[in-house]
């Protein structure tokens, strides 16, 4: 085979494995989410469906299959009042974007050169598009397309709840792109690359994960990630209680399934990003090694370490869902613009200073400095920019004057 053919085959195999893995993962994450929801509420959760046509229950591990079948056999209802083209396009675009993001997300390090796979004589990167130097920009571009899916769905549904959900979503997602970008910029600045593999390699080489150096950046990124993936406590786009599902109220069957999978994939994406950017990706001290000389054992250990970390972040996402009430919309906005944005800027400046002058002092000094900055900023932010909880009109405020103005 020629080089080109090898590359194409390699990419196709990776894409097939990736999509299969992601779909399975999304299905089982739904089960995990339901389990977590049940356990937190002192219930047992789905534990009945096992192997089809037998009485083997397997703790309910057959549930995703049953859920999938249910969605496939449901009637594909298209309400009469919708804009048919956009109504169909919206879920496709959101799912396509959510899947395409994974082209640049590494699921491990590399496979060894002497891997024993026929026709392969060099190391295989465990990422669909290896060496893509604009990786993070690509991630951002595609996560912005996800906003289109939500807004289009809300608009095309021609329904007040959906429309409100779509509008709220657009405002929220645009507002939180900003802190997300700032949290990310610190990492990019310090590690000197937009390529996710390089960022991991740089953390692995120094052995200091970014979360230790940039606690503030991590908090900003984490909060923004919650908001970007529309998870509670920032699930205003859909909030089941107020908007009966928000932008996907009018959807049913496979189209709804596409939305739901895309939502879960967003959560998986940000979990991967959090782990890769702040928790050193596949790196774990004393277990995985740091360079690219891998054997099969280390390659597999690296994949496992990465997956365990990602699962941990996902579990945190699911726990958070049941731990805190939803933000009100004005609180959400003031949190983004008045708290997270300044914090992100402070972090960016601190990282810039660290990146410029850090090499002159031992690492400990840099670490202490960054934590001092983080704690001071946190306290100042907490005291001077608390979340406004009271937005009622004040006494002496005449609402008639406002309406007549």
């Amino acid at each position: 085979m020629t080089d080109l053919e090898t590359t194409v085959v390699e990419a196709l195999v990776k894409i097939a494995l990736m999509i299969f893995g992601l779909m399975t993962a999304a299905a089982y994450l739904v089960l995990l989410e339901r389990w977590m929801a049940a356990w937190v509420q002192d219930r047992l959760g789905p534990n009945r469906v096992g192997v089809p046509l037998t009485k083997i229950k397997l703790f309910g591990l057959g549930q995703p299959l049953a859920d999938g079948l249910k969605f496939i056999f449901k009637e594909e209802v298209t309400p009469k009042h919708v804009d048919k083209f956009l109504y169909t396009l919206a879920p496709i675009s959101i799912l396509a974007a959510a899947l395409a993001i994974f082209a640049v997300i590494p699921v491990g390090s590399v496979l060894p050169a002497d891997s024993g796979i026929p026709g392969v004589d060099k190391q295989i990167d465990l990422v669909v598009a290896p060496g893509f130097d604009a990786g993070l920009i690509y991630v951002f571009a595609l996560s912005s397309i996800a906003v289109y899916g939500v807004i289009l769905g809300g608009w095309a549904s021609n329904n007040k709840y959906s429309f409100l959900g779509g509008l709220r979503s657009s405002a929220q997602l645009i507002a939180y792109e900003m802190p997300l970008g700032l949290g990310l910029l610190g990492v990019v600045l310090y590690n000197g690359s937009l390529e996710l593999e390089t960022i991991i390699n740089s953390q692995a080489a120094s052995g200091v994960w970014n979360i230790f150096l940039q606690p503030l950046g991590f908090v900003v990124f984490l909060v923004a990630a919650f908001a970007e993936s529309a998870r509670l406590p920032f699930d205003l786009p859909e909030c089941e209680q107020e908007l009966i599902g928000g932008y996907h109220t009018e959807y049913a069957g496979m189209r709804l399934l596409m939305y739901l999978i895309a939502e879960f994939l967003h959560m998986v994406t940000v979990s991967f990003l959090i782990v890769i950017l702040f928790f050193g990706g596949w790196h774990l001290w004393g277990l995985t090694g740091a360079d690219n000389n891998v054997t099969w054992t280390t390659a597999i250990i690296r994949v496992l370490v990465l997956m365990v970390k990602v699962l941990g972040v996902i579990l945190f996402f699911m726990m958070a869902r049941w731990s805190w009430p939803r933000f009100r919309f004005d609180q959400l906005m003031s949190l983004a613009w008045k708290v997270m944005l300044p914090m992100g800027l402070v972090n960016l400046v601190a990282v810039a200073v660290l990146a410029e002058y850090g090499h002159r002092a031992p690492m400990v000094v840099g670490l202490a400095g960054m934590w001092a900055v983080a704690i001071v900023t946190w306290i100042v932010g907490g005291i001077f920019a608390p979340l406004a909880t009271d937005n009622r009109p004040h006494v002496g405020f005449d609402s008639r004057q406002v309406t007549s103005r």
Partner: protein, 177 residues
Amino acid sequence: MNADDPNIHWIEEPSLGLSGKMYLPLFVQGLTTTARHLFSPKVTVSFPEVRPKVGNPLIYRGVHRLNKDEQGRVKCVACFLCATACPAHCIDIIGVESPWPDREKYPESFVIDELRCIFCGMCEEACPVDAIELTSLLDLTGRSREEMIFDKEKLLSVYDQTKDAEPMKSASLGGTV
């Protein structure tokens, strides 16, 4: 109603305090509560495998039974008090002259439509001879409407089925035996 309406009583929001403003303590508090519940014992009962606990079988209102006396005869004297008390009109009795010397009448047929029954327990309270009782059997199911209409034999068989687990209530509750 305007914001300065005298009828509105304005209440000041309690201040957050330093730890509240720092957000993290409350954040951790919420997470610990959730984590505690994650591992706490579950309240769900896996029904067909595990029977739900009936608090007090003596006062539980499940499927009816017709009690028998020591000689194995039906205790009912066909006085129609239960049928009269029944708000759902689900009890249908045909009383005939009794073959036994100790009572005037006995039910030739005693039918309860379990689908109409609202399990209020009025029949049990009305019965002067403690013949009809509600047991703690709670999974009352059937595949047809006819199956759910319980006749005398069926009601007596419910007594045979439950008499060991639940002795007649009247004795423990101080009624006539």
